[in-house]
Symmetry: C2
Subunit: 334 residues, 2 copies
Amino acid sequence: MSSRPTIKEVSKIAGVSFKTVSRVLNNEKHVSEETRRRVEEVVARLNFRPSHAARTLAGRRSFQVALLYDNPSPYYVYHVQTGAQQRCSELGYRLLLQPVDSQSPDLVSNVMALIDEAHLDGVILSPPVTEIPALLDELDRRGLPYVRIAPGARKEAGMAATIDDVAAAREVTEHLIGLGHRAIGFIRGLDSHVSTWERLQGYREALAAHGIAFDEDLVVAGENSFTSGGEAARKLLERRPRPTAIFAGNDDMAAGVLAAAHESDIDVPGQLSIAGFDDSDLAKAVWPPLTTMRQPVRELAYAAADLMLSPETGQQVTLEHKLMVRATTGPAPR
Amino acid sequence: MSSRPTIKEVSKIAGVSFKTVSRVLNNEKHVSEETRRRVEEVVARLNFRPSHAARTLAGRRSFQVALLYDNPSPYYVYHVQTGAQQRCSELGYRLLLQPVDSQSPDLVSNVMALIDEAHLDGVILSPPVTEIPALLDELDRRGLPYVRIAPGARKEAGMAATIDDVAAAREVTEHLIGLGHRAIGFIRGLDSHVSTWERLQGYREALAAHGIAFDEDLVVAGENSFTSGGEAARKLLERRPRPTAIFAGNDDMAAGVLAAAHESDIDVPGQLSIAGFDDSDLAKAVWPPLTTMRQPVRELAYAAADLMLSPETGQQVTLEHKLMVRATTGPAPR
DNA sequence: CTGAAAGCGCTTACAG
DNA sequence: CTGAAAGCGCTTACAG
């Protein structure tokens, strides 16, 4: 590293004490306009950049937070990162993007190590890292600020940015019911995701509200992946009477259903309607384009970072979902 | 933050000087086995984690590098991150995942600010951040180590992990030629990506090698996106004689071609063969599954990090590509 | 093999 | 509004 200027050199050239430079850098009060201007001019001319390590060591804050994630979907991770990153950088924080293994017995200790080593000021948890009681407890014990994105368990506790999964799934189901479908298959996602159960609940509520009996045989377990969606679809399509619509718990599985339909020469949406959940990049890349529930992942992450870093925002926020009606859903066949 | 133990407390309890604790932490020579064991035991018991900020400030290295990216594909970003992250953490480095705006006039100064503030030991550049001469020059001037993933310009300079895009595109084209196709359309990617031109070159070389005249009308510009792939396909399908195969410069565009074919009721691969490039997550989620050239993104990033951090590895490495023949390519119609 | 001193580049109280 | 002192938690030479 070439020799960078330090706060002392800046102060010498500006003709003030280095403490005054520090004040200017931190936008503190009690600096005369003229002094401030002079210091800023020198800072710019020397291209001075304060050492993050020194600030962290000397100060009581590191201006550094981490986003913890453990999600197999590139789409999801990318958008969560982008949203959180944006709000953090707007507020002058650095965001460490930290993949973790939420299944590991060392998870809590690994996260604590990161917190200590990096002097983190807080952490942002994304699903399914949101659902680990031992982690939440330890964070609480330490008094370290944290915020959760779309948490399932302990919903009311602490800071969180969410959508209403139950209502969203209800709307998808009602869209199908509105098209005349009565035998609607449902493919659940991973057991460990609380959203899996909430979406199932929304599906059931919609059926009940329209006087359609719940049929256990029409619910099949998937694993949030394309492959598992296809397998689940094949099971559902063997049921008699055959379902005229399938609602998959996420877009990857819905794409799997669509491929299975193509394979069996089942016309979509003529003979089978398909709906997904997420509005991921996939939804518009398959054919026909997928009807799906849009989940504002990037906005959720942005809001989460905001909740944690600007205290005046409050504790919880619920964002809007939106049904994207495309071409995989249509009137039920007679 | 609860009061964490420091190196001094560890040393007091272990009954040695704090310098000795530092030696143990850094795995230095000249510590008796017994002393080492005793210190390690106290470190573990207190759950001591050295302050990264203090190490960075006092030492001449930060054990911190950054991955710079500016790519619209979640798939690409996710895998680049994963590969680089893995090698860095294996080697005891922290990796900062840093999105940048490669079009911004402030790019160089923003990157230099990051380097200074974080005391970076090096940077990993992914496309298209690899192609900015001003950035490379400034890094060279500073003598800061950097490595490039799949660089286009100045290929031979410095450290780099690449694949042979020309050869890979040639193989895709030869696969199509081998199936009897003669009128093969080609959809280029973004102009700013050097790989765009290399893949075009590979396409031309394959044609030439098999005595097929190059037809400018069969090459259309795309923008690496699903939508642009569909538009390009529509243009190509108006050509007479109509091409019997289309090779798209990436999978997103290939998915667009596939959707356009579905829309026009063109049977794939019966009437039209389609090949992509990347083997992204998309390739297996569309129907029929896409024939494509696998680019080992994650391995490239892993190798790049390795080149930079383990000096003995050498300067450059070229990884293998692999043609994934799936279901969108078949014999040319008569 | 082990230790005492100096210093990395800042912020935090404390003065004036 | 401005400054001098102390210290954050480590590593780097330098001794012995």
